[in-house]
Every structure is written in structure tokens, then in C-alpha cells.
């Protein structure tokens, strides 16, 4: 098990390695750990996915609920992103309401999805001002071994791709769900890439051991057309402006790779469902 203490003991070794372009788990600086995506992992959810990045495991369930719109956006559905750092996932997680890390994670994923305009919230309106779809995206961290942000954003997007919303009919001002379901339409496929800074090296997909000793990290959300749609610097360290621009370029390349894995896996999943 990696702890702050064991990671700190290895810090000098890790610094020496990264200065030569190597990492403690044998990866190159720009390599992701093995990424695997599973669609439809929660049968009762309207959309779901599980994502593994190395041994980090995050599950996301999407639930569509009928509710009232916000007064300032009466013609729009509502997107809600929440994250739970479940205590079984790490000795550092404790039961209780979401802490600042869980809140930050959920809010950054929310911004990435929202600002890419992947979901047309206007299409989630049922009766303007009265009834709209509320999409709950619940991020469940089940095994924490670093880079929760990218695992959570990938799993959230995968779960939304897999989301099917019930068709409704309106009878006597009552909204009634029917048996039919239609897939949630997505206009973009935003993904986050987190770049860690250790010494003067930039690392893609920091593991937990690396996160414990990183100076800082930068999460960059990229849309399918390579636009930056959200960013968040975290950890009490710094980035130089030059490093930020390098991180943006690196993130663009990696987001394309990750998106390809996502699309390929989704295609296979859809094919297997047709056959089954």
C-alpha cells in the first residue's frame, strides 16, 4: 500500500528517474496506465459505466429524474454532478459528507461536461417552467490509486453515452413515463487529462505514489475539436507559464488517444448488445 510516508521516502528516487524520462512504475512520462472501460455496469441506473486506470476504479451512474427547473432557466433541464469518495476505496477516505476533494472533483467534472455543451439542456425540458429532466451524475470512487479526476471524467462521459431516457406522455397535466426509452444525445465528448509536475518534469496520469509527492497538477478538459473547456490547477505548488502551455499540448494529444479508446470500446459494446 502506498502512503504519504512511503511515497516521500521514494521522492528523491522518483525525481532522479523523471529527470531521465522514466517513472517508478516503469512508464514513460507521457504514458497512461492501462485504461479499461465497461458500459452498463449498474442495471438500475439510466446510464452507467466503470472505468479502470491502472488499479484506480471509478464507477458512474446516471439517473434521470423528473423535477422542477431552476427559476432562471425555466426551459432547461438540470445537470447535477456529485462525487462520493467511498471509505472502502482508500485508507485516507472517511465516512461522512463529501470533503473538499470530492467537491472539487465533482465541480470540475461538472464544468467540463457543462462548458463543452455536450448536453443540450433545452432538450431535457418537458413542460417549460414546470417539469424538466434532472440528470444526476453520481461519481463513485471505489479504488483510489491516483488520477481520480481523469477516471471520473471518462466514466461520467461513458455513462452519459450509455444513458437512455424514458419517453414521456402528458395526460391531464400529468407527466407519465412510458416503457420506451431514447438515448441521450451528446453534442461533444469532453475528456480531462491531468498532468502532474514533479521537479521540472511533466507526467501524464500520475499514480497515487506520484500524487503524494507532486508539486502541483493541472487538469485540462478538451472537447472533441481540441478546444479547452475547463481547467483546474491543484496541489500547493506552481507551474510556469511555459509549463502550462506544454501541458495543454500534451493534454490535447492524450485526449485524442483516450477518446479513441472510448469510442472503440463503445462500438464493441453496442455490437455485443446487438448480437446478444
Amino acid at each position: 500500500m502506498v502512503t504519504k510516508v512511503t511515497a516521500t521516502l521514494n521522492k528523491n528516487y522518483m525525481l532522479e528517474l523523471v529527470s531521465k524520462g522514466m517513472r517508478i512504475d516503469g512508464r514513460g512520462l507521457k504514458d497512461f496506465r492501462k485504461v479499461s472501460i465497461e458500459f452498463g455496469v449498474a442495471g438500475k441506473a439510466d446510464g452507467s459505466a466503470g472505468v479502470k486506470i491502472g488499479s484506480t476504479y471509478v464507477m458512474v451512474g446516471v439517473k434521470a429524474e423528473i423535477g422542477k427547473p431552476f427559476p432562471d432557466t425555466p426551459n432547461e433541464g438540470v445537470l447535477m454532478v456529485n462525487a462520493e469518495f467511498v471509505p472502502l476505496a482508500s485508507p485516507s477516505f472517511e465516512p461522512g459528507p463529501p470533503d473538499e476533494n470530492a467537491i472539487e472533483l465533482a465541480r470540475v467534472v461538472d464544468r467540463g461536461i457543462r462548458k463543452s455543451e455536450a448536453i443540450d439542456l433545452k432538450k431535457l425540458c418537458i413542460i417549460p417552467g414546470e417539469k424538466v429532466w434532472i440528470l444526476w451524475v453520481d461519481i463513485y470512487v471505489l479504488d483510489h490509486n491516483g488520477n481520480l479526476m481523469d477516471a471520473a471524467s471518462l466514466a461520467s462521459l461513458a455513462a452519459l453515452m450509455n444513458t437512455k431516457i424514458p419517453e414521456v406522455k402528458i395526460e391531464d397535466d400529468q407527466v407519465i413515463k412510458t416503457e420506451n426509452r431514447y438515448p441521450l444525445e451528446l453534442r461533444d465528448y469532453p475528456l480531462s487529462i491531468t498532468i502532474g509536475k514533479l521537479g521540472s518534469a511533466l507526467l501524464v496520469d500520475p499514480s497515487l505514489e506520484e500524487e503524494e509527492v507532486l508539486d502541483s497538477k493541472l487538469t485540462i478538459f478538451l472537447s472533441q475539436d481540441d478546444k479547452i473547456c475547463a481547467m483546474q490547477k491543484a496541489f500547493p505548488g506552481i507551474f510556469t507559464p511555459e509549463e502550462i502551455l506544454m501541458a495543454v499540448d500534451l493534454a490535447r494529444d492524450k485526449s485524442r488517444e483516450l477518446r479513441k479508446i472510448l469510442f472503440d470500446t463503445f462500438e464493441k459494446y453496442n455490437e455485443s448488445r446487438k448480437e446478444g
Binding site: I103, K115, K227, I228, C229, A230, Q232, A234, G237
Partner: protein, 247 residues
Amino acid sequence: MSEEEIVLIDEHGLRVDGRRPDQLRDIKIEVGVLANADGSAYIVQGKTKLLVAVYGPRELHPRHLALPDKALLRCRYHMAPFSVEERKSPAPSRREIELSKVIREALEPALLLHRFPRTAIDVFIEVLEADGGTRCAGVTAASVALADAGIPMKDLVAACAVGKVDGKLVIDLCDLEDKYGEVDMPVAYMPGKKHVTLLQMDGKLTREEFEEALKMAISACEKIYEFQKTALKRKFEAISLEVEEES
């Protein structure tokens, strides 16, 4: 109000409050405004007003949080219920919890926390009137208050947001521009070290626009840095005058 009705940049290229795209709002910083705090600052940036108090280094409670090798920096960003249009519940919102975290992480790189092991340094940011840019004004004022408290620092941290409104990049967004603009990107920067300590962004920017936006934010932070230094100097000039008069 619908989005279409709002003109954020007029035909002369001026913004809702008459500023040019690269123009900051008026900034006033006062140092040492609170009697009880070890360090404090009051900042007025346009209509945004906030107070910062620094307590510490002081004994840490609860003790088990103490760090053996450095001081624990704690930060609370909080909005007064009357600071916004509709009353805000005084309970900390998810937004305030996130901002407290990013502000703490923006200030920490500037502080020599290793000089004060096992202690706490508390930074309290109280937003009294919010008109956009509160987290940035909070960072700007907090670093002045930390200097006022005599905490050894590598540099002051200045912060400013860049945004995109009506397709144009502008600095130091007011509330209206933040709400109806396309992009909001707060940046905190240590001008003396050329280090970025806070970077957040939401909206949509191309790589080229982002590079330009970052440059604009950094140059805005450099201007704010001068206000910070002037404010600190003013306090000590006042003290030296007092001392001279007494002697």
C-alpha cells in the same frame, strides 16, 4: 433577462462599465484594518469588496492535524449573506468549499511554512459585496494580509481573471460579464518568481486564445502587484511617520 438582449461590448469596443478590454477596475487596498488579527487587508475592486484576516502562526487545534515539518495553512473563503442579489445562506456552499481549497493552494507556494512547524496559519476571507472576481480579489488581499502578519514569503501573489465576452478577451470580469460571458479564467501569479499558483478555466478556448488569455492575465497580475506593494509601503510609511513624531 435573456442572453440576446445583453450587449457586453458596445460599438466602440467598450465594456458594460465603460472599460477597455485590458483595463482593470479601480483597486483600493488597505492594510492592517482589523485590530485583533495578526494581519489584515481590505480590498475594493470595482464594486467587489472583501476583508481578509490572518491569524498565526498560532497553536493548532485540534492538535492531531499538526504537521511535524511545517505550519498548516488553513483558508476559509466565505460570502456574507447580503453580499449577493438574493440572500445567500451563511452555511458553506460547495462553491465556497472548492474556492477555499484553490485559494489555499494559490497562497501556499508563496509562504515559508517550514519556518513554523506544528503551528497553524489561518486565513479568513469574508466577501462583503460580490461583483465578480471575488476569489481573485481574495487571493490578492490575502497575500497582502499575510505579509502584514509578518509571515515570511517568497513573493506576493496577485490574482486576476481573464474572460471572453462577446467573442473578445477581457480582463477583470465584473459580475455581469462573468454571468453572461463565454469564458471565465481566474489566474494567480507571483510576478517576482514568474510562477502561476492558481489556474482555473471554464468556457471554450482554442489553444491560441488560451495562450493570449494567459498572457493578459499575467500582465494584469503584474499591475495588481504594484497596488499590493504600494498598499504595504503606505502602512509602514505611516508607522515611520508616527515614530518620528513621537521622538
